[in-house]
């Protein structure tokens, strides 16, 4: 399979040729190459665009999975604002970076389509603070375009919660890029109180594809119940992150190597859920299927556990990292996540399961953003999927460490 390899800081990001959004990526990110493959944006009225989004069952690809059509209809109003979120604060996710590097114009086409339907003259693009190459790619793409909306760019902080919707609006308002309490959905009252369509970069790229292909063309690949494709970041392999595009319905066995399928897998990133080894062996890429297994596709992060690593130790390490990523503004998160990290360390050492249970009951729903909720979700999935492993830890042993020694 052909792939484009991009240097991203010290990492090498592999972007695999894909069936739709990532098709023809070897031709480069220029507008000229893009237009050979994708037609110029044809403006459509708002209701037609909403119907299209509904038909393709477009859900936000930033993690929360909110139905895009609902958001679009809600944002229809005087002075509507369009925001493209490319901040990708989750460190294990590279799919928006990949898209911005190889297909920046598809993201911008989708934003242009939404802006014209909403009558918005300006599109705000929120760039990641972390990757200069991603910023440069999008800025170069914006400079190449003419006609269409004006693009205004902002640079997000390098922080896990910086990409959260309200944190993004704070950044755009010139305040610290941190979450604040949302009293109304952004689509009702967002940037400067105006109705705001704030969506993830991939969401706009998928919208652009649907605008160009039409409803039937879009549904030509994927499942009848989940048309089209999704971007995935596959991580945990020695060669670094790989971004792949998969049609819904693709067997996971065609995407993951056998050793990855036979390892515990973290799906949905650091706010996601652990699945037991082999859980995906006979499963396919599908939101519904993952929900049935107890996971959410989220932003498309799939992290197989490395050979010899232990899911309990790994989760304790991730919770400690997430505790450090708290913006520190909400009491229950500021105090609760470090306490949960301590409890997870104790759990890895074989004690304190009650304390973990107490904290996972106490933290959700008590913050300006869902950072504590996501962290608790990760821990809860560990407790659910690795009960026998936790018993081993309580007895002072670790099944995974034993595997490592015998390997």
């Amino acid at each position: 399979m052909s792939a484009v390899v991009v240097a991203l800081g010290r990492r090498r990001l592999r972007i695999a040729e894909g069936p739709r959004l990532l098709a023809g990526i070897a031709d480069g990110p220029s507008l000229e190459a893009h237009r050979r493959q994708w037609p110029a944006v044809r403006a459509v009225p708002l209701e037609q665009l909403a119907t299209l989004a509904e038909g393709m069952q477009l859900r936000g690809r930033g993690g929360a999975g909110f139905p895009f059509a609902t958001k679009l209809r809600t944002a229809a109003g005087r002075g509507a604002v369009v925001v493209v979120n490319v901040s990708e604060g989750e460190p294990a996710s590279f799919k928006d970076a990949a898209l911005a590097l190889v297909r920046p114009h598809l993201i911008l086409d989708g934003a242009e389509l939404a802006a014209s339907a909403l009558g918005a003259r300006t599109v705000h693009v929120v760039l990641p603070g972390e990757h200069a190459a991603v910023r440069e790619s999008l800025l170069a793409a914006i400079a190449e375009r003419d006609g269409g909306p004006a693009f205004r760019t902002h640079v997000a902080d390098q922080r896990f919660v910086a990409g959260q919707a309200r944190a993004v609006l704070e950044l755009m308002a010139g305040r610290p890029n941190l979450p604040v309490t949302s009293w109304q959905p952004e689509a009702v009252a967002g940037h400067r109180g105006k109705p705001t369509l704030l969506s993830n970069a991939e969401t706009y790229a998928q919208l652009a594809a649907a605008g160009a292909l039409g409803s039937d063309g879009f549904a030509a690949i994927g499942l009848a119940s989940e048309p089209g494709t999704t971007l995935l970041t596959l991580n945990g392999e020695s060669e670094g992150p790989v971004v792949r595009e998969a049609a819904f319905g693709t067997p996971w066995s065609m995407i993951l190597a056998p050793e990855a399928l036979n390892a515990p897998i973290l799906v949905g990133g650091f706010h996601g859920a652990w699945l037991q080894a082999g859980a995906l062996s006979r499963s396919e890429v599908s939101r519904a299927e993952l929900l049935r297994l107890g996971a959410n596709i989220g932003a498309g992060i799939v992290l197989p556990l490395a050979v010899g690593a232990c899911p309990v130790d790994e989760t304790a390490r991730v919770v400690r990292y997430l505790a450090g990523e708290s913006a520190g503004r909400c009491g229950p998160c500021l105090n609760g996540l470090p306490a949960l990290a301590d409890a997870m360390d104790a759990l890895a050492d074989g004690s304190g399961r009650e304390r973990v249970a107490e904290l996972t009951g106490l933290l959700p729903g008590r913050g300006a953003c869902a950072h504590p909720d996501g962290t608790v979700r990760l821990v809860a999935s560990l407790l659910r999927s690795f009960e026998p492993e936790l018993d081993l830890h309580a007895a002072g042993r670790c099944g995974f460490a034993i595997l490592r020694r015998s390997a």
Binding site: P179, T181, R329, P332, N335, R366
Partner: protein, 69 residues
């Protein structure tokens, strides 16, 4: 009749605990002194809930209509 619930503006809450003092029926405090707010505000507690909202020194407590569904 419309129903209400209490919402905390978490970044502004500084764990002063007045809501708990005024409305122990609905508010308890966690181990760090931050409120844990229970369920719906019943009609008979509405007055006390309004008092708790007014008393918050950081204006971090609000009474909001329960969303439909």
């Amino acid at each position: 009749m419309s129903t209400h619930r209490l919402r905390v503006d978490w970044p502004n809450c500084k764990a002063r605990g007045l809501c708990f003092e005024l409305l122990p029926e609905l508010v308890s405090l966690d181990e760090w002194g931050y409120p844990v707010v229970a369920g719906e505000v019943t009609a008979e507690l509405l007055r006390d809930a309004r008092a708790a909202v007014r008393a918050c020194p950081h204006l971090a407590l609000r009474l909001v209509p329960t969303p439909p569904g």
